[in-house]
Subunit: 192 residues, 2 copies
């Protein structure tokens, strides 16, 4: 069984905690401002909005050494809904990985709306979490947590693919914001 | 009813022709090398691989003035499967639009594998075509062709969103190439 620390108690943090709980894993759920509490998880999920990431890294960066760190952010410009706020061609995950050279950083959960994580389905499909990262073992451990919680997980490739995952998350958010899809729907993945 | 010219007789060209045919529209299906035949469609689908686009534009660019031109390409580097061959942050569609200032250029069909276009479904879901472009009327006309052929269509936003559609197409191809999903599957869209 894995032990996760989830920083951020919003919809996404709660939904990811519930998935891990369904899989029989233990979860430490920390508020973003609860900086006095040391993270105890081997997997640390940064479930805060992208603009809060830099503060979390400044507060907790050293304590994340040796851990699997999961970035779930969609770094949209929420004023324009027309671009991301990370450098063209890069990703929030690449920035976080550069800031945490002692951690094994993954991208995951940014292409699944909170409701589809909580429910475990998107429409008739089982919710599938796409995971990108350069550490195969870390991806496998996270995939195990996800599948034990009743969801599907797919290894989407190297950390470089975080760019594409953020593009998917971006487009999905704009489709929902423009009422082309519901916040309870989104991209499902048909594997076969 | 619309009249389409489809340049390219591969799996994608044939599948798009079939969708239009199911909707009662007329289709002129042209081989890439059939340069002697004038395009007659009001909607012209460039159903050739990305590396062949520049030749098609050189041969037919002037005759595409005033028409709706649909780019379906996924400009992958097929040697590495690790990047696109268009400039970072841009898209094949943006390049085509720049080359065809008299045409109304759309991105569509690049996020749906040929088999899901031909079948009309991806798993249990109706196949959904995402359309990006700056001309609302052109998007509406193409969406009408698609929905009359039994598929779903979603307006994915401005031409700038072609970058995100190409990121989705890129990731979907790498997932299939790595056998994470089948070429008969892929991303489905749950609207509600």
């Amino acid at each position: 069984m894995a032990h996760l620390s989830i920083i951020g108690t919003g919809n996404m943090g709660q939904a990811i905690a519930a998935v891990a709980g369904r899989g029989g894993h233990t979860v430490q759920l920390l508020g973003q401002d609860d900086v006095a509490t040391q993270v105890t998880g081997d997997i640390v999920v940064l479930a805060v909005p992208y603009p809060a990431i830099s503060a979390v890294l400044a507060q907790r960066g050293e304590s994340l050494a040796g851990k699997v760190v999961v970035d779930i952010t969609n770094p949209l410009n929420f004023e324009t809904f027309d671009s991301l706020t990370v450098p063209t061609g890069s990703s929030a995950t690449a920035e976080i990985a550069a800031a945490l050279p002692q951690s094994r950083v993954l991208k995951a959960f940014n292409t699944t709306f909170a409701s589809t994580l909580a429910k475990g389905t998107v429409g008739e499909l089982t919710t599938t979490v796409l995971i990108a990262g350069d550490d195969a073992d870390a991806k496998s451990v996270l995939a195990g947590v996800i599948t034990s919680g009743g969801l599907e997980a797919i290894d989407a490739g190297s950390l470089a693919r975080a760019h594409e995952l953020e593009a998917i998350g971006f487009l999905q958010i704009t489709l929902a914001a423009n009422e082309k899809i519901a916040w309870t729907g989104g991209f499902g993945i048909v594997a076969a």
